[in-house]
Symmetry: C2
Subunit: 220 residues, 2 copies
DNA sequence: TATAATTAGTGACTAGGGGTCATTAAAGAG
DNA sequence: CTCTTTAATGACCCCTAGTCACTAATTATA
C-alpha cells in the first residue's frame, strides 16, 4: 500500500514549502522583524500549521541555516577535490568560504546570527542536525589539513583537527567582521573588505608554510 | 548655583545604578530571558523610569557592552605598554584579549551576541559610543602593528591597519568558537579551548615573522 | 511662607508576537 | 455510508517592550 509513502512525501513537500516561505520572509525582513504570522501568510497556511512542522520559530530558523550549511559543505567538498596539494586544498576551502559569502549573503547573515547563541541549548529538532552538519564541515577541513601534512605542503608540527578548528574560527571571524563592520571600515579607513580577505590568506599562507622560521614551539 | 550640577550628578548616578542592575539581571538570566520589568525591580525603580534613561532595551544592553569594551581597551593599553618590541605588543594584546575572556566571560558573551547584529542600524544613544570605542580599540591594535613594522619585529610588507583589523577579526573568531562551541569541541574531539588559543598564537606568530618565506605577494 | 513651575518618577495600559488547543475539514478504512 | 485517523485552522492566551496621563517632589518666584 503506497498511501503512507505518498503522505510522507506530501508532508516532506509541505515542510520544504514552509522553509522556502520562511526563507523569503526572514531574509527580506530580518529574523527579528519577521513574524510567524508573516511566514504563515507567505506559505499560505495558518500559523498553527507551522507548529505542526516546526517546534518553534528558532527551529524553523535552524532549518534554514541547515540549508546554508549544506551548501557550504558541498562547496568545501568541491574545493577539496579541485586540487591535489594539501595546502592548496586548505586555500581552496578558504576561497570557497568567501565565495559562499559573496553568493549567499543571506545565509551567511543567518548563520552568523545564530553562531553567537549558545549551541548546546536544546539538541532536539534541527539543532542536532546543524550540529552534525557542523561536525562534517570540520571533518572536511581537518582532512584537508591532514593531507597537507602528509604531502609536506603544510608544516608537520601542527595538529590537523586543532588547526582546522582554529582556521574555521579565524575564517568566521573575518567573515563576521566584514559582514557586520565592512561598511564602517570602508568609510573609516578606506579599506575594502576584499583587502581583509587577502590579508587573511596571506597571513594563513605564511602560518602554514613548512619553510617558515623554526616555530617557537609549534602546536604542542 | 550648584543645583543643576548636583542634579546632573544624581542623574548620572542613577544611570550607573540602572546599568549595574541591568548587568546583574542580563548576565544571570541571559539577554533573551531578562525582561525590563526584571531590571526595574533590581534597580528598585518603575519600568517607565528605565525609559527616561535609556532609549530601549537594546540601548541599555549597549551601555553594558560599552563597559566591557572600555575594560578591554584598558587591558590593550596596558598590554602595549608592557613590552618594547612591536611583535610582543601584538602578542600581548592577543593575550590580553584572551585574559579578558577568562576574567569577564559575561561581557564577552554580551559582546559576541551583539557583534553579530548589524552595527550601522541606529547610531544614536550608546550605539555610537560603542562604535567610537571600537574605533579606539582598532587604533590601538594598528599602532602596535605599526611599531612592530618600524622596529623590524614584524615583516614590513603588511599594512598595519589592514592587519590590525584582520587580526581583530581572527581573534574574535577564535574567541567566539571557544565561547559557543568550546564544550562541544571538548566532547567531540577531546580538545581543550586553551589548545585553540595556543594554535592561534602559533599561527599568527609565524604569519607575522619577518624571517618567514618570501611571501607569495604580501598584503598588496 | 504660599504658590507656581519644573522636573522626576510611576504603573496601568496598549500593541503585537510567540505559541496552544478545541474545533473543523479531509482523507482513508471497513 | 459510517467511523477513525490525520491535517489544518484561527481564536485565544500570555508575556513583554514600550507609552503616557498622572502624581510626587523639588526648585524658583512672589
Amino acid at each position: 500500500m503506497g498511501i503512507p509513502e505518498r503522505r510522507e512525501r506530501e508532508k516532506e513537500r509541505r515542510r520544504v514549502d514552509i522553509i522556502d516561505a520562511a526563507e523569503k520572509v526572514f531574509f527580506s525582513k530580518g529574523i527579528g522583524q519577521a513574524t510567524m504570522h508573516d511566514v504563515a501568510e507567505a506559505a499560505e497556511l495558518s500559523k498553527g500549521t507551522l507548529y505542526l512542522y516546526f517546534k518553534n520559530k528558532e527551529d524553523l530558523y535552524l532549518a534554514i541555516i541547515l540549508r546554508g550549511m549544506a551548501i557550504l559543505q558541498a562547496g568545501f567538498e568541491a574545493a577539496v577535490k579541485s586540487t591535489e596539494k594539501g595546502i592548496d586544498k586548505v586555500a581552496a576551502i578558504g576561497r570557497a568560504y568567501f565565495d559562499f559569502c559573496d553568493n549567499h549573503p543571506d545565509y551567511v547573515n543567518a548563520m552568523l546570527h545564530y553562531e553567537s547563541r549558545d549551541a548546546a541549548a536544546d539538541p532536539s529538532g534541527y539543532a542536532s542536525e546543524c550540529n552534525a552538519q557542523g561536525k562534517d564541515i570540520t571533518a572536511t577541513c581537518a582532512r584537508a589539513v591532514q593531507s597537507g601534512i602528509e604531502d609536506g605542503s603544510i608544516r608537520g608540527d601542527v595538529d590537523p583537527v586543532r588547526t582546522a578548528l582554529t582556521l574555521w574560527g579565524l575564517s568566521t571571524g573575518v567573515v563576521q567582521i566584514i559582514a557586520t563592520k565592512g561598511e564602517m571600515i570602508k568609510e573609516l579607513h578606506g579599506i575594502d573588505p576584499q583587502d581583509l580577505t587577502e590579508t587573511f590568506f596571506d597571513l594563513i599562507n605564511r602560518a602554514l608554510n613548512p619553510d617558515g622560521p623554526a616555530g617557537r614551539g609549534g602546536t604542542r
